[in-house]
C-alpha cells in the first residue's frame, strides 16, 4: 500500500495482519487499532517513511481476555529527511493472554532531522498473563531524536489504596484504574476522528475490562 503525496490517511484496524506501507512526501498516516481477538503467527507491519516530511502515527490498544496471543512486529524505516514516527501502544492482559511485541525503528544515514518515539506499556491483570516487549532503535545519523520506552506492571497498588481511602470499593477502584490505563494515552491522539472512533470502540468493550 502506498499513501500518495500530500495526503492524510486514517485507518482503524480490528486485527493485525502482514502489511507494507510506503508513505510519500508530506503525507500523514494515522493508524489506530483496538485488538481483542488474538492471532497465532507473528504479524509484520512494515512502514517506510520515504518522502520528505512524511509522518506515521500509530495507536494500538490490546485487550487480552482469555488465552489470546498477540505476536507482532512493527518495523519503521525513516528514509527521507524531516520524517516523524510516533507509536503508542497499551495492553491489558487477563487470564492466560500474552502480548509479544517488537518495535523496530531504523533511521537511515541520510534521513536528516527525524523524530521518532515508540512506547508500549502493558498491564498484567492476572497471574498467568505475560508480556514480551522488544523495542529496537538503530540510528545511523546524529541529526535524529529517538526515544522509546516500555513497561510491564500490574494495577498500581498505591493508586488503588488511594481510591479506596476515598470511599471507593476495591473492585471499583480497580475498574477505574484499568479504564484510566487506556485513557492515559488517548489525549496524545491529535486527530479527533481517530480519537473519537478509538474511544467509542474501547467504551463498547469496557464491560470486559472495567
Amino acid at each position: 500500500m502506498t499513501i500518495q503525496e500530500n495526503e492524510t490517511s486514517k485507518k482503524i484496524l480490528n486485527t493485525l495482519t502482514n502489511g507494507t506501507i510506503h508513505i510519500q512526501k508530506n503525507t500523514h498516516l494515522v493508524l489506530g487499532g483496538v485488538f481483542l481477538k488474538g492471532w497465532q503467527t507473528r504479524a509484520h507491519l512494515d512502514i517506510f517513511l520515504e518522502g520528505e516530511g512524511a509522518r506515521f502515527d500509530c495507536f494500538f490498544f490490546i485487550l487480552g481476555v482469555k488465552k489470546e496471543t498477540f505476536p507482532f512486529t512493527v518495523s519503521i524505516k525513516h528514509i527521507a529527511d524531516h520524517t516523524t514516527s510516533f507509536v503508542v501502544m497499551r495492553s491489558i492482559l487477563f487470564n492466560e493472554s500474552k502480548v509479544d511485541s517488537h518495535g523496530f525503528i531504523r533511521v537511515e544515514h541520510d534521513a536528516e532531522d527525524t523524530n521518532t518515539s515508540f512506547s508500549h506499556h502493558a498491564l498484567l491483570a492476572s497471574e498467568k498473563a505475560s508480556a514480551t516487549l522488544l523495542p529496537v532503535l538503530e540510528i545511523h545519523t546524529n541529526s535524529s531524536q529517538a526515544h522509546h520506552s516500555t513497561s510491564v506492571a500490574q494495577v498500581d497498588a498505591d493508586a488503588c489504596w488511594y481510591l479506596m481511602s476515598r470511599g471507593i470499593s476495591e473492585k471499583n477502584a480497580n475498574k477505574l484504574l484499568l479504564q484510566g490505563f487506556f485513557e492515559q494515552d488517548m489525549k496524545k491522539i491529535t486527530d479527533q476522528n481517530v480519537r473519537h472512533t478509538l474511544e467509542k470502540k474501547l467504551q463498547s468493550f469496557r464491560h470486559i475490562y472495567a
Binding site: 544515514h109 502493558a122 498484567l124 491483570a125 492476572s126 497471574e127 498467568k128 498473563a129 505475560s130 508480556a131 514480551t132 516487549l133 522488544l134 523495542p135 529496537v136 532503535l137 538503530e138 540510528i139 545511523h140 545519523t141 546524529n142 541529526s143 535524529s144 531524536q145 529517538a146 526515544h147 522509546h148 520506552s149 516500555t150 513497561s151 510491564v152 506492571a153 500490574q154
Partner: protein, 453 residues
C-alpha cells in the same frame, strides 16, 4: 596512548598456531593438570566445533581462529615478589602504573602477561583471614575441591561458542575466595596485557563470596596495536552467597585490533548484591553482556556500563538480568558514545520468571552520537511472566545540542572544551562509581578522544 607500546620478550613456551586436540592436550600437559580437567577441555573443544558463531551482534567474519596462538608462557614460574618478575615484563607493567597502584590503594594485585599470570600478591592481613586470591591455574592445584565445586557451574561449556572455546584453552585469570563475613575494604585488581601479535588470551576468573562477605574486584586490559587481529575471550563466573556483596569493575582499553568476546555471569542468592561496572573503551569488536541471575529472595543486581566507540570500533555491549526469586530488584544503566564512524549497541534482557513475586527492574539507556557517520543501536528485551512484577525501560539517542555548545562557549570555553565537558557530564553517572584513580584516568581519556575529533 600510554598503553600502546610493545615489549620485546622471549617466551618460555609457545603453542603452535591454530587449534586442535593436540594443542589442548599440550596446554593441559604444560600445566600438569589432573585428568578430569584435561577431559573437560577436550569435551569443550568438541562443543566449540559444533556450535556456530552468533548470527547477531558484531561482524565476526574476519576472525580467523587458525591464525591465533592459543597459549604462550612468558616465564617459568609465578612470582609473589615484584623484584623477581623478569625485567622486560616488569617494565611493561611499570609503564602501565600497576605496581604503583598496588602500593597506593589496593589490597592485592594480579598481572597477566599473554597466557599466564606472572605476578600475584595479597595483603598479609587478608591471607590470615582466609582470603584466597591467586591465579586460577594455581587454585586448581592448591584448592582442588573448592575449584571443582564451582568451576563451570555458572557458565557451562554449552552456553555459547566462546564459553566452550575458553573452557577448552583457558589459562590464567583470577581465583578469588572470600570467606564468610570477611569484608575486603580496598579493591583487588587484576591487570591483563596482550603483548604478542595474533595472540589469543583466554583467562578464566572465578569469584566466590561466602555468606555476609564483600569484595570489589577491578580489572584492566590493554594491548599494543598491530596490523593483525588478536582475540580476548574470557569467562568470568561469580557466586554471591546470602547477604554478600560483589562489585566487579572493568576498564577495558584493548587496542583496536582485539576481538573482545567475553562471557560474564554472576549468581546472587538471598539478599545478596551483585554489581557489574563495565567500561568499554578499546577493542575492534566487543561482544559482552554481563549477566546476573537473582536466585535468592531479596537479591539485588545492578549493571552500569559505559561504551565509547570510535573509528573502526563496534561496542556491542549490554546486560542480562534474570529474576528467579521473589522480591528481587535490578537496575541497568547503560551509556554509550559513538564518534568517527564508530558503532555502539546496547543489547539487553530483563526476564521476570513466574513466581518472582514483587520483583522490579528499571533499565535506562542513553546514547550520544557525536557525528553523522556514527551509529547507535538499542535492543532491550523485557520478558515478564509474573503479574506482581514491575519492569520499566527507556532509551534515548541524541547528539550534543547547539544550545548546549552555545551556552558553554558563551561562558568562555572553546568548542572543544565545551564538547568535552558535555561528554564528561554525560558519562559522569557511570564514571563517578569508579575508584577515584580510574575515574580521573577515564575522564582524561574521554576528553582526549573528544578533542581529537
Amino acid at each position: 596512548m600510554k598503553s600502546n607500546f610493545k615489549t620485546k620478550t622471549k617466551s618460555v613456551y609457545e603453542a603452535q598456531k591454530g587449534l586442535n586436540q593436540h594443542v589442548i592436550q599440550e596446554i593441559s600437559a604444560q600445566k600438569n593438570e589432573p585428568q578430569w580437567m584435561r577431559d573437560m577441555r577436550l569435551r569443550a573443544y568438541q562443543i566449540f566445533l559444533q556450535k556456530s558463531l552468533p548470527a547477531w551482534g558484531g561482524d565476526l567474519s574476519t576472525l580467523d581462529f587458525d591464525s591465533l596462538c592459543y597459549y604462550v608462557r612468558p616465564q617459568e614460574k609465578r612470582e609473589t615478589a615484584w623484584e623477581d618478575v623478569p625485567q622486560e615484563i616488569k617494565e611493561t607493567f611499570e609503564k602501565l602504573g600497576v605496581p604503583e597502584a598496588e602500593r597506593k590503594f589496593l589490597a592485592g594485585t594480579g598481572a597477566q602477561f599473554e597466557s599466564e599470570v606472572i605476578y600475584h600478591s595479597l595483603m598479609d592481613s587478608l591471607q590470615k583471614k582466609g582470603v584466597i586470591f591467586m591465579a586460577t591455574d594455581d587454585a586448581l592445584r592448591e584448592h582442588p575441591d573448592l575449584f571443582k565445586k564451582y568451576f563451570c557451574t555458572v557458565v557451562p561449556s554449552q552456553d555459547n561458542k566462546f564459553a566452550a572455546l575458553n573452557t577448552a584453552v583457558w589459562s590464567g585469570g583470577t581465583f578469588l575466595y572470600v570467606p564468610k563475613g570477611v569484608h575486603i575494604d580496598l579493591p583487588l585488581q587484576a591487570y591483563f596485557r596482550i603483548n604478542r601479535q595474533n595472540m589469543g588470551q583466554f583467562e578464566r576468573t572465578l569469584i566466590i563470596a561466602e555468606e555476609g562477605s564483600s569484595v570489589h574486584y577491578v580489572e584492566g586490559c590493554t594491548a599494543p596495536t598491530y596490523t593483525t587481529d588478536s582475540l580476548h575471550s574470557a569467562v568470568v563466573e561469580i557466586i554471591v552467597k546470602d547477604h554478600a556483596r560483589v562489585q566487579y569493575t572493568t576498564v577495558q582499553n584493548w587496542s583496536k585490533n582485539v576481538y573482545n568476546l567475553v562471557t560474564k555471569r554472576a549468581v546472587a542468592y538471598k539478599n545478596a548484591e551483585m554489581m557489574w561496572l563495565d567500561c568499554n573503551l578499546g577493542s575492534k569488536l566487543t561482544m559482552k553482556y554481563p549477566a546476573i541471575y537473582l536466585r535468592g529472595e531479596g537479591a539485588r543486581g545492578e549493571i552500569q556500563s559505559l561504551a565509547l566507540a570510535g573509528n573502526g570500533q563496534h561496542q556491542d555491549a549490554g546486560a542480562k538480568i534474570i529474576h528467579c526469586a521473589p522480591h528481587t530488584r535490578s537496575t541497568i544503566m547503560a551509556r554509550s558514545i559513538s564518534k568517527d564512524g564508530g558503532r555502539s549497541s546496547y543489547r539487553g534482557l530483563v526476564r521476570i520468571q513466574r513466581g518472582a513475586v514483587g520483583s522490579a527492574s528499571r533499565v535506562v539507556c542513553n546514547a550520544l552520537l557525536l557525528d553523522d557517520d556514527s551509529i547507535s543501536d538499542t535492543y532491550p528485551l523485557s520478558d515478564v511472566k509474573e503479574q506482581t512484577a514491575a519492569v520499566a525501560h527507556e532509551a534515548s539517542v541524541a547528539r550534543i545540542r547547539d544550545d548546549q555548545l552555545f551556552y558553554l562557549t558563551s561562558r568562555g570555553l572553546s568548542e572543544d572544551e565545551a564538547a568535552s565537558a558535555i561528554v564528561n557530564g554525560f558519562a559522569s553517572p557511570i564514571v563517578k562509581k569508579l575508584p577515584m584513580e580510574y575515574a580521573l584516568e577515564l575522564n582524561r581519556l574521554l576528553a582526549m578522544e573528544v578533542s581529537a575529533q
